[in-house]
């Protein structure tokens, strides 16, 4: 039996094409995935991300605990409402999950984790808590729904749809959130997302989720499915857990070194293992040069320095070309040409530095591709 978000009936009524996504019955598109993609790059689109889980960590010493549990450093979170992207690592350096942690108060941090990893994340954190900080409580918030509203017009349309939200959120900087009192109850409005566009992620009481969704539709926000969410995040050069990294992959070979704090003397789970294993591979972008298909996960890549593999690949609607993230030998340089096995052909691709597109703009040289 697939799990359903509080917006499930809304998606069905809108004629969405539904898929099993990690045990959840989720919309992949409502018609054209490419139209939904362009709506987010050029105007405003929204995604039901209620399958992801907000988990509240409360109690004295919450910051100390997270300083040890997370690879990124929560000491960067100084003002209430600030958010930080981090990996949760195993002692051997493998990635248990990637997450966003919000600093709400010294005794209250909110962690938003991936859908398919929620149970193992909570089990892992509870084990760590029992060892190091048994006074803290950890509560998955099944009573909350999440809607990501993204695109250059997203903020203005949220303010139109939710009276009272503008005052609370107009001055938010990227990666910052605030509580707003709205006709739909208390809504946490955060200037975050997974598309490379401006916008908000809204955490709303599940009982009000449908009303918020309908108000956003009335304000001109286009519903978008997980298909567009994947092409948008890939263009933006953002990793997908389970594809671009997992428990067998170090964040240092997954393009996430910028999120791992090896500089401070702070100890954290996985640190010793990362320091002991300098990465032999790297995550780079690929832009397909030859015609002949679409780059996809698991295709083999041949380089002058050895073999690698595509971890995520798709057709980029913004570039009109196929793009990918690939794990390649460390010696491969930006600008190199590599060969990718697509069915029975070896197609040329240019190595580029992600992101491919953000804020409505192409960020790689499109003449590098076909």
């Amino acid at each position: 039996m697939l799990k359903k978000t509080p917006l499930h009936a809304v998606h069905r009524a809108a004629g969405a094409r539904m898929v099993d996504f990690g045990g959840w019955d989720m919309p992949v598109n409502y018609g054209s995935q490419i139209d939904e993609h362009h709506a987010v790059r050029n105007d405003a689109g929204m995604f039901d991300v209620s399958h992801m889980r907000a988990v509240d960590l409360r109690g004295a010493g919450a910051r100390d605990f997270l300083r040890y549990a997370l690879a990124n450093n929560v000491d960067k979170l100084k003002e209430p409402g600030k958010a930080l992207y981090s990996c949760l690592l195993r002692p051997d350096g493998g990635v248990i999950d990637d997450l966003i942690v919000y600093f709400l108060a010294e005794d209250w941090f909110r962690i938003v984790v991936n859908a398919s990893t929620t149970e193992k994340d909570v089990a892992w954190l509870r084990k760590l808590l029992a060892e190091r900080a048994p006074q803290l409580s950890l509560a998955p918030r099944d009573d909350l729904a999440m809607i990501a509203v993204q695109g250059p017009q997203a903020r203005a349309k949220v303010w139109r749809a939710m009276p009272g939200s503008e005052q609370a959120s107009a001055n938010l900087k990227p990666f910052q959130g605030a509580q707003a009192t709205t006709p739909f109850g208390e809504v946490f409005v955060a200037r975050t997302g997974y598309t490379g566009e401006d916008g908000f992620e809204l955490i709303v009481p599940a009982s009000h989720a449908t009303a918020v969704w309908n108000a956003l539709v009335a304000a001109g926000v286009k519903p978008a499915g997980l298909g567009a969410r994947d092409t948008l995040r890939l263009e933006a050069g953002m990793n997908l857990y389970g594809q671009d990294m997992d428990e067998g992959v170090s964040p240092l070979v997954a393009g996430l070194a910028w999120t791992v704090d090896l500089a401070s003397p702070r100890d954290f789970v996985g640190k010793a293992a990362l320091v002991a294993q300098p990465p032999a591979q790297q995550l780079v972008g690929l832009l397909l040069q030859d015609a002949g298909g679409v780059l996809r996960a698991h295709q083999k890549v041949r380089t002058a320095h050895g073999e690698g593999e595509i971890t995520s690949g798709t057709f980029s609607p913004t570039l009109g070309k196929s793009i990918a993230l690939a794990r390649l030998p460390k010696a491969v340089a930006i600008g190199d040409t590599v060969k990718v096995a697509v069915r029975d052909k070896m197609l040329a691709a240019k190595v580029v530095k992600p992101p491919f597109a953000r804020n409505g703009k192409v960020l790689v040289n499109p003449t590098d591709g076909s």
Binding site: R17, V28, N29, S32, Q33, I34, G227, T231, A291, G292, G293, V294, R296, T314, F315, P317, S322, R343
Partner: protein, 125 residues
């Protein structure tokens, strides 16, 4: 669902139209394009290639995934629609206008055993 009455169908979701010159025009159905989603790449068989029924001979690739297209009958490829390879999205717009290839069938009665519109509609409902 759009399933034109005058066409014949294969269980592997190709449609077939008998032309007055004895050739058969082949494409994929409206149901198939809707299942695939936005198409971004199409590869067609070369003119002159001789195909056996059931042989994978073309590729239609959407944003989501690649799928094979099968020759529904035995025959020789006499034409390929290059307009559709340069504009794959035209197949999403009208799957029956955007034909893929045309065969000269080995057996002139090859379409006799194929599904009619009612049978295909039942298959995909």
């Amino acid at each position: 669902m759009n399933v034109p009455k005058e066409l014949k169908y294969a269980e592997s979701h190709e449609w077939m139209r008998a032309e007055s010159d004895g050739t058969v025009t082949i494409g994929i159905t409206d149901h198939a394009q809707a299942e695939l989603g936005d198409l971004v790449f199409i590869e067609l068989p070369a003119v002159g290639r001789v195909l056996k029924a059931g042989e994978a001979c073309a590729i239609v690739e959407s944003v989501k995934a690649a799928s094979d297209v099968y020759a529904p009958i035995d025959g020789e490829v006499v034409a390929a629609n290059t307009a559709v390879t340069s504009a794959p999205e035209s197949l999403n717009e009208d799957a029956y206008a955007a034909w893929l290839f045309r065969l000269k069938p080995s057996n002139p009665n090859a379409l006799a055993g194929m599904l009619d519109a009612a049978a295909y509609e039942k298959l995909v409902s």
